[in-house]
């Protein structure tokens, strides 16, 4: 088609097309910060990003957002929640690096807090020691220390802690000829994880068909390590898992369980739900049980297993998990967000969340309060859940952590211990494999 008429119109059209294309291209290139300032009604919207269950929301939680909105009529709170903590953190890291797509408050799990306070990310957070008016003295000392950067900035306020115990299936214990009373059960292994393994062997000798004593050797590894004074890092916060007596001990206990047929060889939190199904089908008799695990057992074992599970103190007390609330510095409402974070993590609110969700608080005063001390959970019958966990929490000491803890833990458990359990790899070989993985993948 070649016409020479009406070409000015065509020129205009071509120019228009080119401009439109340019606009389209530049338009999709800039995913700008949409600073949502005060809306039409003058209210500020504060967004809070969480994972798992924090127990703040108005539907199934303690209704803290509604309460804060009543106290501060100019604030509106929106929570966005992700179930998987690892995926949440991976996304958050990406967003922090771009200062884009962040919520005003972001929750950070203890496994990643050292990464958040490390130089690459430390500058991305507001200092909650100076903004928002939080009372840092109310928290357990080590909880504040974990969230402090090298230059003394406090980037996160503690929400909960994860004191550990051992949850056990009373019916399976009875069938295997073990005691079921929690004091007697605790006495079976008090003071040493080796005694725990002895109990496991006694169970194995008379184990009900198709069951194992413990769910996962990796879970056992985490539990043993959680009570050790030296874990992945040395006293300077540098990764040194190879020479750590804690890692050595946890590895020995876990591999003994893995090779001795004492575990159900499952991977905890497996996305395919095999581990979850194990609760329902009573595939194992014990689970290393941080305080947040009780909710998982309740949900996965289901109402049909109500009253079957009980909680005994762990051989050695420890801490596994717990979180912080942090405020990204690039947000449009840093001051207001810091105030909200301080309010959400104050002792009064910790108590309310515990009452509804069972999260063991990280403020000293709340830990010793009667509300926590006398608390029970319906699923676990008359078990004094609050007392068992708060006693353990009081005994937890700060442990040096490094920026690579979470990653090394994944290699040790998923590529080391699980490989022994599921593929029969020799433990010495598995340890070498983990070392190779760390050398290859962690770029220091």
């Amino acid at each position: 088609m070649h016409t020479t008429t009406a070409h000015p119109r065509r020129t205009a059209l071509a120019a228009l097309a080119a401009t439109a294309a340019l606009v389209a291209v530049t338009g999709c290139g800039s995913g700008g910060k949409s600073a949502d300032a005060a809306g039409d009604d003058g209210r500020i919207t504060l967004r809070i990003g969480t994972f798992g269950s924090f127990g703040y929301d108005n539907e199934t939680g303690a209704g803290l957002y509604a309460e804060y909105e009543r106290l501060h009529p100019n604030i509106k709170i929106v929570e966005s929640n992700v179930a998987d903590g690892q995926k949440y953190w991976d996304t958050l890291k990406l967003r922090l690096s771009r200062d884009s797509g962040l919520a005003d408050i972001q929750a950070v799990e203890v496994g990643y807090i050292a990464e958040a306070t490390a130089p690459a990310l430390a500058g991305k957070w507001a200092d909650l020691g100076t903004t928002g008016g939080a009372d840092l003295g109310a928290f357990l000392d080590w909880k504040v220390k974990q969230a402090t950067t090298a230059d003394g900035k406090v980037i996160g306020l503690g929400t909960d802690v994860g004191p550990i115990a051992v949850c056990y299936n009373k019916d399976l214990f009875a069938e295997a000829g073990l005691p079921t009373d929690r004091a007697q059960v605790g006495a079976l292994w008090a003071g040493s994880w080796d005694a725990f393994l002895d109990t496991a062997r006694a169970y194995r000798a008379k184990a009900p068909e198709g069951t194992a004593f413990h769910d996962s050797a990796s879970g056992l590894f985490n539990a043993v390590l959680s009570g050790e004074p030296v874990q992945y890092a040395d006293s300077k916060g540098e990764l040194d898992y190879r020479n750590s007596p804690g890692v050595k001990k946890a590895w020995e206990i876990a591999t003994a369980a893995a090779t001795g047929g004492l575990t159900a060889k499952l991977r905890q939190f497996d996305e395919k739900g095999t581990w979850n199904a194990g609760f329902k089908n009573n595939r194992f008799a014990t689970v290393a049980c941080p305080s947040w695990m009780t909710g998982i057992i309740k949900d996965q074992a289901g109402a049909g297993n109500r009253g079957r599970w009980d909680i005994a103190p762990a051989p050695v007390p420890g801490n596994w998990g717990g979180s912080f609330l942090a405020v990204p510095r690039s947000g449009p409402h840093v001051e207001e967000a810091a105030e909200l974070a301080a309010w959400l993590t104050a002792p009064a609110q910790h108590a309310k969340v515990f009452a509804v969700n069972g999260n063991i608080p990280s403020t000293r005063e709340t830990l010793s309060s009667p509300a926590v001390q006398n608390a029970r959970l319906p699923f676990f019958g008359d078990t004094p859940v609050g007392r068992i966990y708060s006693e353990t929490a009081a005994g937890i000491k700060a442990v040096p952590i490094s920026r690579w803890d979470g990653q090394v833990k994944t290699f040790l458990t998923d590529n080391g211990i699980l490989d022994i359990e599921q593929r029969g790899t020799d433990p010495a070989q598995a340890w070498t494999n983990v070392g190779k993985l760390v050398d290859d993948k962690i770029q220091k």
Binding site: M1, T4, S97, K124, K272, T274, Q407, R423
Partner: protein, 336 residues
């Protein structure tokens, strides 16, 4: 518009023919070779084609070329997600050469590629041949064959992961009924790779079959008639008429499947569940893409991840060069 473009290209002033039908703009009859209008006209002829292809190339520059170059730059640095870049030269690449995990991932990518591509294309060829016959419900069957392709990777993989579940999956149940021991479809290397290849094959066979079918329908019918007259069986016809006639299409599908196999990511990642990114507890099905993802987003070594991305590109270019070489040797042999 080949004529005006050629004129514009050699820069000579365009010999403008008088307009066959004077439009409203040239109503005064002035030839458009003079004045601003003429210049505009010339500019239009030269620029309009570029303006029309510009959107694609601008988008390509922004989302194809720029990431490619930026990745190349990153691969020469030590970069932590969110941190500053630090020059490393080629050490990210030499590090890969020394890394057991890189070679393991490369080998896995290769074996998974062979395990999934070869059966996939053979099945597609046979399926296309069958669909090419006149039969009842042909249209329905052709659509049905494409259905797996329209399923999302995630949905397909999750279903297959349940089927292949070692504890309560359907496949082990059936194997058990038939008297076989249960297979560790996830933790053992070859069963896991076969399971993943099955997913890929299931998803892509129909797509390739339709491409083959389209090519087969372009094969002249008289070739078959001639072959039939010579007494060739159906199989003989397929081997001696169909296959040689659609050879370029087969080559195309091989190239596309090879590219797909090199970038295999979604199936092994989702099949492995929580262990997907490391390709199982012993990296038994970690592909290059998964290794790249693990380096970049899990351990935060963006420089090394970028180096893997570039190596993947080089592997593809190498395969492409190999293919051209084979084709050239073959042509020389065919034309002595």
């Amino acid at each position: 518009m080949p004529a005006p473009a050629a004129v514009a290209a050699d820069g000579t002033p365009p010999p403008v023919p008088p307009p066959p039908v004077p439009g409203p703009d040239t109503a005064k009859g002035r030839p458009p070779g003079h004045g601003w209008r003429g210049r505009l006209h010339r500019w239009d002829r030269r620029a309009a084609p570029y303006a029309f292809v510009a959107p694609f190339f601008l988008c390509f520059a922004a989302f194809g070329l720029y990431p490619l170059i930026h990745t190349g730059w990153l691969s020469l640095h030590r970069v932590e997600l969110g941190g500053p870049a630090e020059w490393r030269g080629l050490r990210n690449y030499t590090g890969l050469w020394d890394s057991h995990y890189f070679w393991n991932a490369l080998a896995n990518t290769f074996t998974l590629g062979v395990l999934s591509t070869v059966p996939q294309l053979l099945l597609a060829l046979g399926l296309a041949h069958l669909l090419n016959y006149r039969m009842r419900g042909r249209g329905f069957l052709r659509v049905a064959v494409l259905a797996p392709y329209a399923t999302s990777v995630a949905a397909a993989t999750l279903v297959f992961a349940q089927l292949f579940n070692s504890d309560y999956g359907l496949i082990n149940t059936v194997l058990g009924r038939a008297g076989f021991a249960p297979v560790d479809w996830e933790s053992s290397k070859w069963p896991a790779q076969i399971a993943i290849s099955a997913i890929v094959t299931w998803r892509w066979t129909g797509y390739n079959a339709l491409i083959y079918l389209a090519a087969m329908q372009a094969v002249p019918q008289d070739l078959y008639e001639a072959a039939a007259l010579d007494g060739a069986s159906r199989l003989r016809q397929f081997l001696s008429v169909t296959i040689p006639s659609i050879r370029p299409t087969i080559l195309f599908t091989i190239v596309v499947s090879t590219i797909g196999a090199t970038q295999l990511f979604g199936e092994p990642m989702l099949f492995g569940g929580s262990l997907g990114i490391s390709g199982g507890s012993g990296n038994q099905f970690q592909t290059l893409s998964l290794l790249m993802y693990e380096k970049g987003w899990v351990t935060g070594a963006l420089g090394q991840a970028s180096a893997i991305a570039w190596v993947m590109l080089l592997v593809l270019l190498l395969l492409g060069a190999l293919r051209v070489l084979v084709a050239r040797v073959r042509r020389r042999r065919d034309r002595p």
